[in-house]
């Protein structure tokens, strides 16, 4: 069935914005289309007058490193992220989270920008971007803006941007340096929709002696309607010894403050609480180990 009438492939952001303006809300930005086109087919959106494909815009397809900062264009695919040596080594959680999205065919076209625009409460890529404290560069209402990643989400399936008007350009974050590391893990339900029961991305920095947590960022999703950080859990870790005892304390705190709901198609609240403990333990231990060894081999790519 016909889902759109026109398909445009602009080569600059200005062209893309001009096209969106021209269609006055009757066109949507599309990147890989692995979510949007399926949703169009399922009737979640009306038939679009046009789709504006942003994957040929150079600024959206770049993946560039500048000292310790990396820029990942919104049109960079999950597969490109998984294959990026610098991300594997220095933003492992993003590789692990993008590596478990769909199968190769979906990862080959689905983009990080699309994952964020889709604004699922537990988008795998977005959970990691939150832990990486990324910033999104966007064009919103015609203005170029830089917003913290957490501000990109307004509710389940609702992002800050309006894809009939705005464009996500890319993401910036600081790569891991010595004594820093990240990890991502998730638990999937084997039945029904491919929704994570729970996903967890963690960034840690150990002190130079590698004995204590100097800083930590923890993102566990879905807990609330949008992805976010567990600040209380981070607070337990910071300044404390990087030991199993502290990790268990962090888990205890997480269990007190995080109240996962029973979600019919994901799992019971009780089970999800158990998974908070399991995921935090496994992910934190892995991140600490990576920070200590300086080695990171992504786990679970393509098979979770």
């Amino acid at each position: 069935m016909k889902l759109w009438n026109h398909y445009h492939t602009p080569h600059s952001i200005d062209q893309a914005i001009a096209l969106l303006n021209q269609y006055q809300g009757k066109a949507k930005v599309v990147a890989g289309g692995t979510d949007l086109i399926v949703e169009l087919r399922e009737g979640h959106h009306p038939i679009q007058e046009a789709l504006i494909d942003v994957t040929q815009i150079p600024e959206l397809t770049r993946l560039t490193t500048n000292n310790n900062e990396i820029y990942v264009g919104a049109g960079v695919t999950h597969s490109q992220i998984v294959k990026s040596a610098v991300l594997v080594a220095r933003a492992t959680c993003l590789v692990e989270s993008c590596g478990v999205v769909g199968g190769p065919q979906v990862r080959n076209v689905g983009t990080l920008g699309g994952n964020v625009a889709h604004a699922l409460p537990a988008g795998d890529g977005t959970t990691s971007l939150v832990a990486l404290d990324a910033k999104a560069e966007i064009i919103m209402s015609g203005q170029r803006r830089v917003v913290p990643i957490a501000e990109m989400f307004r509710g389940p399936g609702q992002s800050l941007i309006d894809s009939t008007r705005d464009v996500i350009i890319g993401f910036r974050f600081v790569l891991c340096s010595d004594n820093e590391a990240t990890a991502f893990k998730r638990i999937m339900r084997p039945q029904g929709v491919a929704l994570p029961i729970l996903g967890c991305a963690i960034w840690v920095r150990l002190n130079p002696a590698q004995t204590h947590f100097e800083a930590a960022r923890v993102s566990i999703a879905p807990i609330g309607p949008t992805p976010g950080r567990a600040a209380e859990v981070e607070a337990i870790l910071i300044g404390q010894p990087a030991t199993d005892t502290i990790i268990e304390q962090a888990i205890e705190t997480a269990l007190q403050i995080l109240k996962p709901r029973t979600s019919k198609y994901r799992a019971t609240g009780d089970y999800r609480k158990e998974m908070i403990a399991v995921l935090l333990r496994r992910t934190l231990q892995l991140a600490v180990q990576r920070a200590r060894t300086g080695q990171a081999v992504p786990e679970g790519i393509g098979m979770e």
Partner: protein
């Protein structure tokens, strides 16, 4: 319309097409490259995979204009121009990785992309690459083997040996792993399934489905839809020319609903239009006024007095059928028992998820060279399709022709009528060919499923480990229409003692009408469900008695001389004990020092085992026959014709092998024509694991009759006594003299003799349930052991290994039969661990492929398969059924293993890791809920 420049398989195309096209549409409709299949249009199944600049993508959701200026490779581009197959194609053939062939292009394209990047992929790399490219037939083991072999060949190291099973006494063509029919077409993309056919002037049809699971229809207004430009016909119940009912056992299913809708898949109106989009648009313009009625959502409620009666004309109300087995004296039996276990089990509705959605094309008389109303369809029962179409259209059967195309998987799900009658009606009404292709989402809602069941099973045994009694009550959710519920639930009932000697049995089964999608045939035919209860109870009892579960089964196993609970004395071919000992031996030797269970960190490992049996053939007194026609030609070839379906399981090569055997011909000189009601005689339904036995025998006996005719003629031609003639590689020989088959046929024609024989084979008679005697003419037997890993922190269950022993009488084609076993096991793993078709008060929640998880290659365990060939004297060369027996006991074997690993027993499928973990944590030993029971 806009310009699209793309290179496809090296050829540059400048197309002028709408920008709304997907890449799959361009390939299939604009370029006629129908090797790329569409399975779901949700980017879920992966069978539409093509390569863009070498990268695999799902073409079903890939906008065509996104491929502007790029290079696309499809399955048609794999072979070289001179026809030499790509190593991936050749190895898929050689390793038996092609069954129905519908997913094959997607698997091969994904594999090709992998091999372009990785010249020596291990299992893990292959699983990562193919994780979201589904196959419902093979179970993936042969696919992995084929890819590794292709890689080896592409590295210049030669292909790898084929993992061919050991079989006894191979003959000329029987027990030989010949390639299946049409396999070359299937790997090149040339194979045509129904949706691959197009005709001049063809219209596209859609069906308006019910808006409620149960409602009275007050009014249907089609005026606006008719007025839409491009709409050629809109038909309702008022336009059904003949009887507005169909059904395989009971005629209770309206062609188009007139007064009441009984499930969400009910058809209310049908539209034929110039394009699919117009047809879809027209559906929105049809106004139907409903009065919603109370919904009967589950079989136990259906049996209660409060439930509204769904079929007022059915004499027993919502009780579609009460099926009874009575054997011995149940009270006395339990009085002898030292141990009694009684538990309730639940199994979910399960979807076949064949990868080819249903498609029918109706062609009116006088169009496209067809003299009569012709329907193209991939159906498991072409002659019954014809019967049902003719009745609905008010035509004599001879005025209707059903031509079976290749079938992209069936598994029981293509036995009932779906679009056949509708396509025929629209073709009649419009005078033009009409294609009715279901979307995946429509397919999910419409066709009958595996019955959800609630089974209360009570089993008693003595302290010596002898079974003494089984009492069971089964409720089957038959859904809105009868379909094959009567037969399926009968099989669940008669097999509810398991493959054991049970002197006293009382089993009651209630097949109920509800407002859920109808339930019908599904590989295992009810036995899958009852075996879960039987084999779980067996393990519980063994533990209570304190006896090894294998020993317990051995003590009670059916043998030659056993009387079954239906009163049948088993006279031969009872290979259960042999399957058990093979599996036991492998299991025990797997790790030297055998343990049922062990721990390694937070992972628990354990073995579990279960047995099963399954009838071959219709049984129960139904006449079971198949007619075949075999004709020899002057070019020395032979054609065998039978209207039996090959949905991927391989019936075509089975009949070809039988004919090649009887005529001692090279296999490649035998052609097979299947499923054309004008050209092929009736082979009956492809169900009940019957075709190898019944159509195989028909081909065998008919070929033997042709051989006799040929021998008589050759004797005359060579002037030698007929008894001294023998057949050898297409020649009839006598000492120094010989005549080629083709030459002989020419001589026969010249002398007015026919080289064609038609014969109807009748399988041994059976008796109806309740009358004693032979209810079935053969049973196949199986034992399976499962090795599972349970993550004790998450409850996640992984099947690492399955050891299978399967008694199939004889392996006509060992490699393809092994593919059936592997595919059956992986499909059954889905039944146990991932699959559940969810209906909420009559409304299917599972209305997307994305909401139904079937096993992917990542789930594929190591499978060790032993074929046990305990011949049945009446089977073709000793063979009996295989299609179902391999898919029945996997679920209880896995659940028994989970129990050994965790101490928690699962009573509701699919296994819910959530409930399992909570039980482990709480020290509970029994789990009675499945995942969607979460509130």
């Amino acid at each position: 319309m806009s310009k699209l420049d793309i290179t496809v398989n090296g050829q540059i195309h400048h197309l002028d097409i709408p920008e709304s096209r997907t890449l799959a549409q361009v390939l299939r409709y604009d370029l006629g490259l129908t090797g790329t299949k569409i399975g779901c249009e949700e980017a879920e199944c992966g069978i539409c995979t093509v390569l863009i600049n070498g990268t695999p993508v799902n073409s079903c959701i890939f906008p065509a204009f996104k491929a502007q200026g790029r290079e696309v490779q499809t399955v048609e581009g794999l072979a070289q121009d001179d026809g030499e197959l790509h190593p991936v194609q050749q190895n898929f053939i050689d390793h038996g990785a092609v069954q129905c062939g519908f997913c094959t292009p997607g698997l091969m394209m994904t594999a090709t992309a992998l091999l372009n990047e990785n010249s020596d992929p291990d299992d893990h790399a292959i699983k990562v690459a193919l994780k979201d490219t589904y196959c419902r037939c093979t179970g993936y083991a042969s696919v992995i083997a084929a890819i590794k072999s292709a890689a080896s060949e592409m590295r210049g190291e030669g292909s790898l040996p084929v993992n061919e099973p050991d079989v006894s006494e191979p003959m000329h063509a029987i027990s030989r792993s010949v390639p299946p029919q049409h396999v070359r077409e299937k790997v090149t993309g040339a194979a045509k399934y129904t949706d691959d056919y197009v005709f001049d002037g063809m219209l596209y049809a859609r069906t308006l489905r019910a808006a409620y699971p149960h409602a009275r229809i007050l009014d249907i207004n089609t005026e606006q839809a008719r007025a839409l430009p491009g709409v050629v016909a809109v038909l309702t119940h008022a336009n059904v020319p003949g009887e507005n009912l169909h059904g395989l056992v009971y005629r209770d299913w309206p062609v188009l609903c007139s007064d009441v809708v009984r499930y969400m898949g009910d058809g209310v109106a049908i539209v034929a239009a110039e394009t699919e989009d117009i047809a879809a648009e027209a559906l929105k313009l049809i106004e139907v006024e409903y009065e919603p009625l109370p919904v009967v959502g589950d079989p136990k409620f259906a049996h209660s007095h409060e439930a509204p009666i769904l079929h007022p004309h059915h004499p027993t109300g919502n009780l579609l059928k009460h099926i009874k087995v009575r054997h011995g004296d149940i009270e006395q039996g339990f009085a002898q028992a030292d141990y009694i276990v009684e538990r309730e089990y639940r199994t979910p509705t399960v979807e076949h998820a064949f990868l080819e959605p249903e498609c029918s094309i109706g062609i009116p008389p006088g169009v496209a060279g067809h003299e009569k109303l012709t329907i193209l369809v991939g159906s498991q029962i072409p002659y019954q399709d014809r019967n049902q179409i003719a009745l609905a259209l008010g035509l004599p059967e001879e005025k209707v022709r059903v031509i079976g195309t290749l079938i992209g998987g069936g598994f029981g799900g293509k036995e009932d009528i779906t679009g056949q009658i509708h396509a025929a009606m629209l073709a009649q009404a419009t005078g033009r060919p009409v294609k009715m292709l279901y979307t995946r989402q429509e397919s999910l809602i419409v066709h009958p499923k595996r019955h959800a069941t609630i089974i209360r099973m009570k089993t008693g045994a003595t302290k010596d480990g002898k079974l003494v009694a089984v009492e069971a009550e089964l409720y089957g959710d038959g859904g809105a229409y009868a379909s094959l519920s009567d037969k399926v639930m009968t099989r669940a009932t008669t097999h509810a003692t398991g493959p054991y000697v049970v002197p006293n049995a009382k089993i009651d089964c209630y097949a109920m009408y509800t407002n859920n999608p109808p339930s019908g045939a599904f590989r295992g035919f009810g036995v899958t469900q009852s075996a879960f209860a039987v084999e779980s109870n067996m393990d519980i009892l063994a533990e209570m008695i304190g006896i090894d579960p294998i020993e317990f089964r051995r003590l009670n196993a059916q043998k030659v001389g056993t009387t079954t609970a239906t009163g049948q004395v088993l006279r031969e071919s009872v290979g259960l004990l042999e399957t058990l000992s093979h599996v036991e031996q492998d299991m025990m030797s797997a790790d030297g020092d055998f343990h049922w269970a062990w721990r390694d960190g937070h992972k628990a490992y354990a073995w579990g085992l279960a047995c099963a049996y399954k009838n071959t053939g219709l049984g129960g007194g139904a006449p079971d026959r198949a007619e075949a026609e075999v004709e020899a030609f002057e070019d020395g070839s032979v054609e065998v014709r039978v209207a039996s379906a090959d949905m991927g399981q391989g019936l075509a090569h089975v009949v070809a092998q039988c004919t090649a055997e009887e005529l001692k011909l090279p296999y490649n000189r035998v052609r097979v024509l299947l499923c054309d009601t004008d050209l092929t005689p009736n082979g009956g339904p492809t169900t009940a694991s019957r075709q190898t036995f019944v159509s195989g025998n028909a081909a065998r006996v008919t070929s033997a009759l042709l051989r006799e005719a040929l021998t008589r003629s050759a004797a005359e031609f060579l002037d030698v006594p007929p008894e001294t003639l023998y057949y050898e590689e297409g020649l009839l020989r006598h000492n120094g003299k010989s005549v080629e088959l083709g030459q002989l046929v020419g001589w026969m024609k010249g002398n007015g003799l026919s080289s064609k024989v038609r014969h109807e084979y009748h399988a041994p008679a059976t008796q109806p349930l309740g009358t004693g005697g032979d209810m079935h003419f053969a049973f196949s037997y199986a034992t399976q052991a499962a090795l599972v890993e349970v993550d004790m922190e998450t409850g996640a269950v992984k099947v690492l290994k399955i050891i299978a022993g399967t008694d199939i009488g004889r392996a006509i084609n060992p490699l393809m039969l092994q593919g059936q076993v592997e595919g059956g096991i992986v499909m059954a793993m889905g039944n146990c661990l991932t699959e559940s078709y969810i209906v909420e008060n009559g409304v299917p929640w599972t209305n997307l492929f994305a909401r139904y998880k079937m096993p992917s290659i990542k789930h594929a365990p190591e499978i060790i398969s032993h074929l046990i060939e305990d011949r049945v004297s009446t089977g073709p060369y000793g063979a009996k059924g295989v299609g179902e027996i391999c898919s029945i006991n996997t679920s209880p074997a896995i659940c028994n293993a989970i129990y050994h690993a965790t101490g928690v027993r699962i009573f509701s499928l699919p296994v819910d890791q959530d409930a399992l973990l909570r039980a482990i944590r709480a020290g509970q030993t029994e789990v009675y809920t499945a995942w969607h029971d979460v509130r």
